[in-house]
């Protein structure tokens, strides 16, 4: 049916991953950092699904895997935000580069 080669999906996933990584490593706002991490995880999902459809040995497990990933990503986000809130209560900021009381 569709003739989009798997390499395209993989490239897309890779690009997304890199964007996510870039965001996670550069954004100053904690929320955006968390979102970027979500992005990275989702890029993985694209990989998995692509493989499970167009991989050399297609199998359903990839999609199952991606479901698990989504769920866990959600959990991660939730916990992350909860901790962020706890931090915000004490620190009154979500600015990531102010979180450096411990160093060296």
């Amino acid at each position: 049916m569709s003739s989009v080669p798997i390499s395209a999906y993989l490239t897309l996933a890779l690009i997304l991953f890199c964007i996510g990584l870039y965001g996670a490593l550069t954004k100053r706002n904690m929320v955006i950092v968390l979102i970027s991490i979500e992005l990275m995880l989702n890029s993985v999902n694209i990989n998995l699904v692509a493989f499970s459809k167009f991989g050399m040995v297609p199998s359903i497990t990839g999609q199952v895997f991606s479901l698990f990933t989504i769920a866990i990503a959600a959990a991660e986000a939730a916990v992350g935000l909860a901790i962020l809130i706890a931090l915000y209560r004490n620190r009154k900021t979500v600015n990531i580069d102010e979180m450096n009381t411990m160093k060296h």
């Binding site: 580069d97 450096n100 009381t101 411990m102 160093k103 060296h104």
Partner: protein, 621 residues
């Protein structure tokens, strides 16, 4: 003779005994010392007479095993040893006796006797050693003993310095001896004298090696016998109590060097060069020391330099293949020089000064010491019919016969000097009129005079055991059964005897002119040729020279090493620790506390690995 080994043990016992109980015994410890030394003297006499009739005796036991080599310890009684035993034990006994009076009242009296015992033990042990190793062992012990005795007045800075100097200077020589004997060992495979001699005769030791080892061993002798250039310790050693000087620096320790050369005579005769070296050093020392003796002001120092020069004579004799002459002079010198020292001691004991310029006119006061001192002086000056005359004559003949003409004349001049400064000494001390501050001067007690008298007699008669007129008994006996030692008596032209006599009489006459009759002013030399006088008075500046060269060189090395240690070694260590610390600093700097920095670091790491992987072509190697 079989148990001659006991002879050295007597003094050792006295040493140990006094070490343990001396403190309680106080001055009675003198009797202990005297008793034990007397015993060893008597037994040595027995051994000596035994030796006349019986052949050389030797007994040994294994001392230490190295691999398959057995190092032995034991004793040997040959002519030389037997003779030395008697001389040493006799002088030691007399000194023990003398010291009872001289050291009276010293609160470390017993220590002094303990030390005397130790020293006597070492010296006796030295003379009966049958092999080089044992000789070396006692050789060192002798050094240690003399070190202790010289430094007996430990609270005097000079005594401390003198003791240190004596030990170190002799040790320098000893190292020569050590090297020499070890080299010999690797050539011969044994330290035994007779095996060494056999090997040398058999020619299994290369000529060069013989010369080398002989000279190295001679270096040891130079150190002990205060030969030039290692003589400087001997005059300083006069800081010790005077009886010590009599024992160590007349009869025994300083003679050990001569004894060693004599004992190894076959080795030396095997190498003409070695003999030459011995002769030259001897002659040089003789004239050199005598010249210094001309101007010294300290009674004991004068005697010390005369000792040095006399030892030079002996070396000259041995170097000129005059085995008998050397040993003969060793014997006579032992007696008259011991006498002189004891007499000097008695003088000092009386006037409490050593500076001869503060003395004078003691002849009337010291009725016994005076004549005895005169006897000694005559003997050493080589005045006919006194013992010194015969032995010195033998030496001159030997030197001449061996063809060392130059050395011969040197020796003659030295003889002149000797006569001069010895009588200078005599006149300055005894002649003239007494000083005012020496009113209450009185003769020493009999315990001190008795030994002097004994020595005085010997100083006269000892010569007659070996004379051209009444037969050379000693010589023949010494060399009997061992042609390697040369002949008992070397025939020489008769005029030599005349020359010697004339020379010594000239010296005496000149001394009388200057110091007795005062017809020539005393400061003739110092006023006419101050430079010469200065050089002589300062002993040719040898000490200063050593200070400048050797000591400073040592300092240089020490500080060099010191700085190497401080900067190089420590520096490297500091460098390494610094690097580690630095790494730590960098590491903790990177740990900036920025979350994203950490993630970035991880990513960088990943990227790095991937890049390396890609560059190296990954697994496709």
């Amino acid at each position: 003779m079989e148990n001659a080994w006991i002879i050295p043990l007597f003094p050792l016992l006295s040493f140990l005994f006094l070490l343990l109980f001396g403190k309680r015994l106080k001055e009675t410890s003198a009797y202990i010392g005297m008793l034990f030394t007397l015993l060893s003297f008597i037994y040595s006499l027995v051994v000596l007479f035994d030796r006349f009739s019986n052949p050389t005796y030797k007994a040994e036991a294994t001392w230490l095993t190295i691999g398959d080599v057995q190092l032995t310890a034991g004793f040997e009684i040959n002519q030389l040893n037997a003779l030395m035993l008697v001389i040493v034990s006799l002088v030691s006994f007399l000194v023990h006796t003398y010291s009872k009076g001289y050291m009276h009242g010293d609160d470390r009296f017993h220590v002094f006797y303990a030390y005397l015992g130790l020293f006597t033990f070492a010296m006796l042990g030295l003379v009966i050693s049958p092999n080089l190793l044992q000789t070396y062992i006692f050789w060192e012990l002798v050094g240690a003993g003399s070190f202790l005795l010289i430094g007996f007045y430990f609270y005097k800075e000079e005594a401390k310095a003198a003791a240190k100097k004596a030990f170190i200077m002799t040790r320098i020589g000893d190292v020569g001896l050590l090297i020499g004997m070890i080299l010999l060992f690797w050539q011969v495979g044994s330290f035994e004298y007779d095996e060494i001699f056999q090997a040398v005769e058999a020619g299994s030791v290369s000529a060069g090696m013989v010369t080398l080892t002989a000279i190295l061993i001679f270096v040891g002798a130079v150190g002990k016998s205060g030969q030039f250039p290692l003589h400087t310790w001997l005059p300083d050693a006069m800081e010790g109590p005077t009886p010590v000087s009599a024992l160590i620096h007349a009869a025994t320790m300083v003679a050990a060097g001569v004894y060693l050369v004599a004992a190894l005579f076959p080795l030396f005769t095997a190498s003409e060069t070695a003999l030459m070296v011995v002769a030259i050093i001897g002659a040089v020392t003789a004239i050199f020391a005598a010249s210094i003796g001309l101007v010294q002001k300290d009674i004991k120092r004068v005697l010390a330099y005369s000792t040095v020069s006399q030892l030079g004579y002996m070396m000259l004799a041995l170097g000129s293949a005059g085995y008998v002459a050397g040993v003969f002079h060793l014997m006579t010198h032992a007696f008259f020089k011991a006498l002189l020292f004891l007499a000097a001691g008695s003088v000092i004991h009386a006037v409490h000064t050593q500076n001869i310029e503060e003395m004078g006119g003691l002849w009337k006061k010291l009725r016994i010491t005076g004549p005895l001192f005169l006897i000694g002086t005559l003997a050493i000056s080589g005045v006919p019919l006194f013992s010194g005359f015969f032995s010195k004559d033998e030496i001159l003949i030997a030197a001449w016969a061996h063809g060392n003409t130059v050395l011969f004349w040197l020796a003659v001049i030295a003889a002149f000097f000797t006569a001069f400064y010895m009588f200078r000494l005599f006149f300055m001390v005894f002649s003239g009129n007494a000083r005012s501050e020496m009113k209450n001067v009185h003769e020493s007690p009999s315990v001190m005079t008795f030994p002097m008298i004994v020595l005085g007699i010997l100083a006269v008669v000892a010569g007659y055991v070996n004379t051209p007129w009444f037969g050379t008994f000693l010589g023949d006996w010494l060399v009997d059964g061992n042609e390697a030692l040369g002949h008992g008596h070397i025939e020489g032209p008769a005029w030599i005897m005349i020359v010697a006599t004339v020379v010594s009489l000239l010296g005496i006459f000149l001394a009388w002119m200057m110091y007795g009759k005062r017809s020539i002013s005393r400061d003739w030399l110092s006023s006419r040729m101050p430079i010469v006088y200065g050089i002589l008075y300062n002993k040719y500046y040898i000490d200063e020279f050593y200070q400048l060269s050797v000591v400073n060189a040592t300092k240089f090395f020490s500080y060099l090493f010191h700085y190497i240690e401080k900067f190089l070694v420590e520096g490297i260590v500091k460098g390494i620790t610094g690097v580690v610390q630095g790494l730590g600093r960098i590491g903790s700097k990177i740990q900036s506390g920025q979350i994203q920095g950490y993630g970035a670091m991880a990513f960088v790491g990943l990227a790095l690995l991937l890049v390396i992987f890609a560059i190296t072509g990954g697994y496709l190697k």
